[in-house]
């Protein structure tokens, strides 16, 4: 610990260089990070806004499972499960599945009831490209929760010539 301080103090130039080079590395790394990883397409933001309004969905409680590598995007098994006691006073009202890279963001919406027993379902979806898929749950208490899954698609669906 004392040695570190000594290193810093012994050479003002070294300290300054260290500081500037660290800033430089930080600057470079943010320009390398692809924008797509940080921002969603406008249609996707709009689709999510239509669901949650002015609420902010919290991370957690929603588990979305898609195979991480998919041979054909035409028929991909998708499973979603939401933690909830599913009682008449505390249950999942709806789950919305939103795609970040399909021609249209909405994939499906399912509406549960207290008679559902479990807020779980499995279906088969189309994925146009490697992407992140979101699952946004709307609870009976008005709160929103979200989860996501990333997948790599080698043969895409949706847009093709016949």
């Amino acid at each position: 610990m004392m040695n570190l301080f000594k290193l810093h103090a012994s050479s003002p130039n070294l300290t300054r260089r260290l500081y500037l080079s660290t800033l430089g590395i930080l600057g470079l790394s943010t320009s390398f990070a692809p924008l797509s990883a940080l921002a969603k397409k406008p249609e996707v933001i709009e689709a999510i806004a239509k669901i949650v309004g002015s609420n902010i969905p919290r991370d957690g409680r929603v588990k979305l499972v898609i195979p991480p590598l998919v041979e054909s995007g035409n028929l991909v098994v998708l499973k979603v499960a939401i933690q909830s006691p599913m009682t008449t006073i505390d249950y999942v009202k709806a789950i919305h599945i939103i795609s970040e890279a399909n021609p249209s963001p909405n994939i499906f919406t399912a509406y549960f009831t207290p008679r559902s027993g479990r807020a779980e379902l499995t279906t088969r979806v189309r994925l146009a490209d490697s992407q992140r898929v979101w699952a946004i749950a709307q609870m009976s208490d008005g709160s929103y929760w979200q989860g996501y899954a990333d997948t790599l698609v080698t043969l895409s669906a949706c847009t093709e010539m016949i």
Partner: protein
């Protein structure tokens, strides 16, 4: 003109490769034969295995309805001769293509032949919903049974022609079926594993087509893939190639109706 020692060396290497190629073009040993089912993801395998999840089951049901439907000028159904349940068709699909009345027929071809002669009905077009449904229904009666094609004095000429098609280079890419599906089966092309190409599950629900399709459709896809002139649906060449492929897969169990990516 004398050939240099280096040139001679390369000639020997080339010669050895050519010999190796012809040895390579021999059959895959029975113990090493592998259905492309083995190369699928667990989800797709489950889709094939579970009747509740397999979309092809709708075509089986459609096929059963058509089986029982009276049609043609003679107004009879397939069931009138072959029974309502279709169970009498057990073992039939594993024997096709076969020589009947001197002509090599595929299962689709035989269904159309039956329609013409017994029902006086028009032939169903290849890849039509009706022909696929009937073929799937009939073939699924043999599910689990081993493919039973043997070389016989009757079919040997067609079988050898089919074998020639399999081993012959074709198309602008100048590739033969054997070069990928025999010599390089199990290796990767692009991101996918190359299958041995055994027609164990046809007709299949192909996820890429999002519908049922025949072996001939799949073979035409392959041919356009190497930029070759595709064999026509229902042609003799197609039947001969089918015969060779089924013979090459003899002993392997039929999986119809299959699911493939």
């Amino acid at each position: 003109m004398k050939t240099s020692p280096l040139c001679k060396q390369w000639l020997y290497v080339l010669f050895a490769i050519m010999i190796a190629q012809s040895v390579f073009a021999a059959e895959i040993a029975k113990v090493n034969r592998q259905s492309s089912y083995q190369l699928m993801t667990a989800e797709n395998q489950a889709m094939q295995d579970d009747p509740n999840l397999n979309p092809a089951l709708f075509w089986v049901m459609d096929g059963h309805s058509l089986w029982k439907e009276k049609t043609g000028n003679k107004n009879v159904s397939c069931a009138s001769c072959h029974g309502d349940s279709g169970k009498k068709m057990s073992g039939v699909a594993t024997q096709f293509p076969k020589i009947l009345r001197g002509k090599l027929r595929t299962l689709e071809g035989q269904i159309n032949q039956c329609r013409a002669s017994q029902q006086d009905a028009s032939a169903l077009a290849y890849e039509s919903k009706e022909l696929l449904a009937l073929t799937t229904f009939v073939a699924s009666q043999s599910k689990g049974m081993p493919i039973a094609i043997q070389e016989t004095p009757l079919n040997t000429k067609d079988l050898q022609q089919g074998k020639q098609f399999f081993n012959e280079r074709m198309g602008q890419l100048n590739l033969s079926c054997a070069q990928c599906h025999q010599d390089r089966a199990g290796l990767k092309l692009g991101g996918s594993l190359i299958p041995q190409g055994h027609p164990t599950a046809y007709p299949i629900y192909r996820i890429e087509w999002q519908t049922m399709g025949s072996l001939q459709r799949r073979l035409r896809n392959c041919m356009s893939g190497v930029r070759a002139k595709q064999f026509e649906y229902g042609s003799t060449e197609m039947a001969q190639l089918e015969l060779y492929l089924m013979w090459r897969a003899r002993g392997m169990p039929l999986e119809t109706p299959g699911v493939r990516p």
